[in-house]
């Protein structure tokens, strides 16, 4: 796990929408290939701004971003955008074409790929997200979950190495949320680094390897899931709470019903960890 190389590195990043009012203050983060990072924090803590900086939509005055060791500046912003994909929270903000296949083709077409290559990528992305039957349908006739799948297919077609998800489960029903988690597993399996911004503490506990906590523009915690969620002061500052399963674990531990240090992350691991 530790031998994975760093793919994206942020150093001393400070950003403000208006001068003198920094939204991000001196952020330093490294992302390794294939990592699963949950980005958390109160509303307005700077998570979305951080993401928009990471993929080159916003450019900071101070600080540097390195992709695969190369420094990214105004000249090679498109390189950053090509390799770091961003799935927006509101799928309607992202979808601009009048049919699903035109929408998924938008990214590859912008990369000036050949028609054959574009068609190949679109087919692949639609298959990945199980959207083949919606190929020629206009996006405004799709449901919320289907639109979300389309917005993810958009980014898959761009073959990004790092994918940022801005609160992806926010408007999804449980079935769609499950589908999303399956997609995240598939993407991780292909070695893509995933950063998911979320308020869902239980989801982060279940899925992430690493948690990044923002508070008022600064990173106040960056580490393993367990160490972050056991730190009460961090949770309080960032308006978070302990994951349900962690609370359950601690209660059961006190009653002597569960093996120490077993820390089940999902409900199904609970049975194995308990003295039954």
């Amino acid at each position: 796990m530790e031998s994975r190389e760093t793919i994206l590195q942020v150093r001393h990043l400070s950003y403000g929408y208006h001068p003198g009012n920094p939204v991000l203050k001196d952020v330093n983060v490294s992302v390794r290939r294939g990592e699963k990072i949950a980005v958390m924090g109160a509303n307005g803590a700077g998570k979305s701004t951080f993401f928009l900086n990471l993929n080159g939509v916003l450019q900071a005055e101070t600080g540097e971003i390195f992709y695969e060791g190369q420094k990214t500046g105004k000249k090679n912003l498109n390189e950053l955008r090509k390799h770091v994909g961003f799935v927006f929270q509101d799928a309607d903000s992202q979808i601009i074409a009048s049919s699903v296949q035109a929408e998924v083709a938008f990214g590859p077409m912008n990369l000036k790929l050949s028609r054959e290559e574009v068609r190949e990528r679109v087919n692949q992305a639609l298959e990945y997200m199980d959207l083949q039957e919606y190929r020629t349908r206009p996006p405004h006739y799709l449901s919320g979950g289907e639109k979300k799948r389309v917005s993810i297919a958009d980014i898959i077609a761009m073959h990004s190495e790092v994918i940022l998800f801005d609160e992806p489960t926010a408007a999804l029903d449980p079935l769609s949320a499950d589908m999303l988690e399956e997609v995240l597993e598939k993407l991780s399996g292909e070695g893509k680094a995933l950063l998911v911004s979320t308020h869902d503490v239980d989801f982060a506990y279940r899925w992430a390897e690493r948690v990044l906590v923002f508070d008022q523009g600064q990173v106040i915690a960056d580490g393993e899931v367990l160490s972050v969620f056991r730190d009460e002061s961090v949770l309080e500052r960032a308006h978070l709470r302990k994951p349900e399963l962690l609370e359950v674990y601690e209660i059961l531990l006190k009653k002597g019903l569960i093996r120490e240090n077993s820390y089940p992350r999902q409900a199904k691991e609970l049975a194995k960890a308990m003295h039954l």
């Binding site: 049919s99 938008f106 349908r137 958009d154």
Partner: protein, 267 residues
């Protein structure tokens, strides 16, 4: 209550788009459909015969209801709008105003006479038929071709890119705007914002202003999403290439040929 009367109106725009996206001939070549509709429209106007106009109204109506799959009830609903305009317009053509008594039928209003002549009525009727024929041909196009294909045809016709791209984006956002406006209106109605005329005007104004601000915010988010996917100033939308079949061209030629023949026979 009185403000529900117009709800069918706002659904018509969505419905036309819906019919286009499920039309039986949406897989036909888009340039062909545009050229067909425009040439039929031109023929109808140039030939200037009531028989032709009626023929076009009926054949295009048949195409719309059977091939494009529009329900008869909805189609008559679509036709109501142009008919309303035509009635007003043709009244202006048919009627005249004069100081002294004139025309075949007249009403005396104190200062002047309002009259119609037989000739005027005939002209107005022919005009209505001609216009309805043209409108039917246009509906044939609108109900069989989704908007993005129409803009694709314009692009092929070398209309400036910026106009075509704006049309594409405006079309996409009409749906988002109507959805958001619908939601805001429902929320306002739940809080009695549309109980009487005065309150409705106020709520409508507030909704309108809010919609504008939301659109500005959304435009920013949309731009961010576009540049995240490497947008560089052009919107190269993917267009499906549709095969043109010879028999389709022959069909169009036969149809227009028979219209012309009809005129010659009647002479």
């Amino acid at each position: 209550m009185i403000f529900h009367r117009h709800r069918r109106h706002s659904h018509s725009v969505n419905s036309m788009d819906y019919y286009a996206s499920q039309s039986g001939i949406r897989h036909w070549n888009d340039s062909y459909k545009v050229i067909s509709a425009c040439s039929i429209l031109l023929l109808c106007i140039l030939l200037n015969q009531p028989v032709i106009s009626i023929a076009v109204i009926l054949t295009m109506g048949f195409m719309n209801v059977k091939v494009n799959g529009v329900s008869f009830y909805d189609y008559t609903g679509f036709l109501k709008i142009p008919v309303a305009f035509l009635i007003l317009g043709s009244a202006a053509v048919a009627c005249g105003i004069s100081r002294s008594p004139a025309g075949d039928y007249r009403i005396s209003l104190n200062w002047f006479y309002l009259y119609v002549t037989e000739e005027g009525i005939k002209q107005a009727a022919e005009l209505v038929l001609k216009a309805m024929g043209a409108v039917s041909a246009m509906y044939f196009l609108a109900l069989s071709t989704p908007a993005h294909e129409l803009t694709g045809v314009l692009k092929k016709a070398h209309v400036p890119r910026i106009i075509v791209e704006l049309m594409d984006m405006i079309y996409r956002f009409i749906f988002i705007l109507t959805e958001v406006q619908g939601r805001m209106k429902t929320a306002a109605m739940s809080r009695l914002g549309y109980t009487d005329f005065k309150t409705s005007c106020y709520s409508f104004g507030q909704t309108g202003g809010n919609l504008f601000l939301l659109s500005l915010k959304k435009a920013n988010a949309c731009y961010d999403a576009m540049i995240s996917r490497c947008y560089e100033g052009e919107l190269p939308f993917w267009e499906e290439e549709k095969q043109l079949k010879i028999w389709q061209v022959a069909l169009l030629a036969a149809y227009e040929g028979s219209l012309i023949m009809l005129v010659l026979i009647l002479r």
